[in-house]
Symmetry: none
Subunit: 217 residues, 4 copies
DNA sequence: GATGAATGAGCCTTCATTCAT
DNA sequence: GATGAATGAAGGCTCATTCAT
C-alpha cells in the first residue's frame, strides 16, 4: 500500500535487506502514517509501526532514536508534503487570484493529499494535546504561510471584485470549511464523499466571491 | 492522606469523605475533562484523573467500572451538556429562523460550553474518533440532531429570504466554521479570541444570508 | 441451595435482616464453600462470597475479621462436619470391626458429605500450599483420629480374620482409595458416579479382607 | 541491577545475558514449578517467578505471552515429563505384565518425577482443576492414556493369573493409591518417606495380584 | 447490626528503550 | 545495518481492608 520510497532504485517488489538511509526513513514514516490511521495516536506503538513496515522492532529506533522523534518527523513529512502540494498547484495557476483560489481548493482535496490514511493521521495529531508544541514546531510556519497566501488571494479578489468583506475572516472561513470537511470525513458515521467535500468548499468560495465563482450543482 | 479524625469539623471547601453517588460521578467526570485538556487522550491516566479530583485511583474505578467506561461517560456528559445548551438557546429564540440561527451561534460560543478545558477535551475525543467506536456511540445521534436543526433553519431562511443556495451545504459551511474556530482556538500558536471566533461565525451567517444578518465590524 | 442455618428460627424463605451471630456465620461459611467450589481458591473473593450469601460486602468482614479467618473457619467447619459424620456412623455400627469399616466407607460417600460443592472445597484447600499450616491447624488432629480409627479397625480385622498384612499400610490404602475417588470426581473430565466410587472403595475392602467383604458387581 | 560492563569475563555459574529461546523457556518453566511449590497457585505471581529465575518480569512475558500461557505451558511440561517417564519405564520392562506394572509403580516414585517441587506443583494444579479448563486441556488425554495402560496390564494379569476382579476397579485402586500417596507427601504434617510410599504402592499390587507380587517388609 | 464508599497494595500487562550478537 | 532478547517504568485493574453513616 505505501508508495515506493522516492529514491529507491532497488527491486521494486520487496524492500531489500539494506536500503539507503533516506529510503528506510521514508518507508518507516509511511508505516507510521498507516499505523496512526489504523489505530489512532494513543495506540500507535513502535512495535506496530515496525510490523506495518515489515521491519524489526529495533530498526525503527535505529533510524529515529526515539518514538517522539519518529512522530515529529512523520508530522514534518506530512506538513512538507502538504505544503509542496498546494505550492505546486499555485505555481500552475498563473497570476489570476480566482484561478489561484480554485487551484488551492482543488489541491487540498487532491488524491495525493486527501487519502484516508493521511486524513486520519492529521486528525490524530490535531487531537493530541501532547503533540501541540510538536505540531507548532513542524507546522506552525507552514500553516502561517498557507494562511498568508489565502489572505492575500482574498484581498486581491476583494480589490478586483469590489467585495466588501474582511479578507482575514473570509480566508478563515474558507480554510475552516476545508479543514472541517476533512474532519467530517474522519468523524462522521457515514461521511459524504470527497467530491461533496470539494463541492462544499467551492460553494463557500461562490458565496464569498459570487462574481468569480459559481456554486456547483 | 489518612482521613481527618472523626470529630473534626469538616472544612467546607474540601470534599467530604462520602458524597452521593451522582455527585461523586460528576466530580470525577469533571476531573477527567480537566485531565484530557491538560494531557491529551493518550496520556490521560486514571491515576492522573484521580489526582486531579483529589481522590484515590481505586475510587474512580469503583464508580466507573473501567477506564473505557469513564471516558465514555465523560464524552456522553459533554455531548449532553452541549446538546442541552443549544436546545435551551433555541427554546428562547422563538419561531423566527434568523433569531434561531443567531441563538445557535451564540450558544456554541457561550462561556458554559466554550471553555478551554471543554474545547481541549472535545479535541482529544475527535482525534481518537477514527479508531474507536466510542465517539459515534455517544455523539452520533446528537450530532445528527444538531445538523438536522441547522439544515431546517437554513431551509426556512432560504424560503423566507429568497436565497438560492443548497441548504445542506449552507448548514455544513456554518457548522464547519463554528467547529473549525473551536479547533483553531486549540491548535494555533497564538489563537484569536473567542469574540473573534464568534464574529467569524456571524460573518459566515451574514455572507450566507445577507438580508437577515450583518457582518460584525 | 445452602441448608438453613442450624439454629435459625425465623422465616424459612429469606434470611431476616438481623440474625443471631452464629446463624449469620453459618450462612457465610456455607456461601464460602459454594464460592470455593464455583471459582476455586485463587479466585474466591470476599465480594463473591458476600454476593453468594446475598449480603453486603462489609458484613462478611464484620463477622470474620479477615479473609484468612473466614477461610480458616470454613475449613474447620468442613472438618468438624466430616468428623461428626464418620463418628456418628461409627456409633451406629456396634463393636464389629467389619461393620465399623463398612459404616466408615459408607459415611464418606454419604449425601451429606460427598456433595459436589464440598468435594470442590476440600480440593481447593488441598491444592493450596498457602493453606497448609491452616490445614494442619484445622484438620491435622481430626485426620490423625480418623487414621487411628481406621488402623485400629484394620488391626482388629487382621487379628480376627487371620490376614497377614501390615495394618498401617492396609488402612492407608483404604484411605487413599477413598480420598482419591473424591479427587477423581473433581478432576476427571467425565467422572464416574458416586455409586461407582463407593463400589470401588468396597472392592478395596474386599481385596484387603476377602473373608469379611465381597466386591460389589 | 545494571548489566555487567561489556568486557567483563562472564562468570560461568551465572546465566548468560542471552540464551537460546528454548533454554530460556525451560528455565522459566522450572522457576514456575519452584514458585508453585513454594507459594501455591493463588500466590504465584509473575514477579515471583521472575525473581526465582533471576530475570526481569518483563522477560517472562516476552517468552510466554501471558500468565495463563505460562501456567498452561508449565502444566504441559509437567504432563509431558510425567508421560515420557512412565512410557520409558514401560519400554524397558519387556512384555511381561507383572514387570510392566512393577516398572510403572517404580517410575511414579522415581527421583526425576517424585520431587517435592513437582509434587507440590501438581497439587497446586489439581486444586484449581475444578474451575479451570486448563487442566483438562493439558492433561486429560495423557491421564486417559495412563489409565488405559494400567487397565490393560491389570486385565492381562487377571487373564494370566486367574484373578477374578474387575480390571477397571483394580487399576483405579492402584492409581488412587499412587496418587494419594503423592498427596500425603504434600499435605501431611509429618509425612512418611518416599520409600514408604513406594512400599505402600507395592503392597497394593501384592494384595491385588498375590501370585505375582509380594508385599515388601 | 448492616451498608457501601473509600483506600492502597499488589497484580498482570504494555511498551519505549537498551544492548549483545 | 539489522535482529531480537532483555529491562524497567508505568498503566489498568482487583481486592482485602477500613470506616463513616
Amino acid at each position: 500500500m505505501p508508495p515506493p520510497p522516492p529514491d529507491a532504485s532497488d527491486t521494486p517488489n520487496r524492500p531489500p535487506r539494506t536500503m539507503s538511509r533516506e529510503a528506510r526513513r521514508s518507508q518507516i514514516v509511511e508505516a507510521t502514517i498507516q499505523t496512526l490511521a489504523a489505530r489512532g495516536f494513543a495506540r500507535t506503538t513502535l512495535t506496530e509501526v515496525a510490523r506495518t513496515a515489515g521491519l524489526s522492532h529495533g530498526l525503527v529506533l535505529f533510524h529515529f532514536d526515539s518514538k517522539e522523534g519518529l512522530l515529529s518527523d512523520t508530522l514534518s513529512h506530512l506538513a512538507e508534503e502538504y505544503s509542496q502540494n498546494w505550492k505546486a498547484a499555485l505555481d500552475t495557476a498563473g497570476d489570476d487570484p480566482a484561478q489561484q483560489l480554485s487551484a488551492l481548493i482543488e489541491a487540498d482535496f487532491s488524491p495525493a493529499i486527501c487519502t484516508p490514511a493521511r486524513l486520519a493521521a492529521w486528525c490524530a495529531f490535531w487531537g493530541e494535546a501532547q503533540s501541540r508544541p510538536l505540531y507548532q514546531e513542524s507546522c506552525g510556519e507552514k500553516d502561517a504561510a498557507y494562511n498568508a497566501t489565502l489572505e492575500t488571494i482574498c484581498a486581491r479578489l476583494n480589490d478586483r471584485g469590489g467585495y466588501g468583506g474582511n479578507p482575514v475572516r473570509m480566508a478563515r472561513i474558507l480554510r475552516l470549511t476545508i479543514e472541517g470537511a476533512w474532519l467530517d470525513l474522519m468523524t462522521m458515521e457515514a461521511p459524504y464523499s470527497v467530491e461533496e467535500a470539494l463541492a462544499t468548499a467551492r460553494t463557500c468560495a461562490a458565496i464569498l466571491f459570487p462574481r468569480d465563482f459559481t456554486a456547483p450543482a
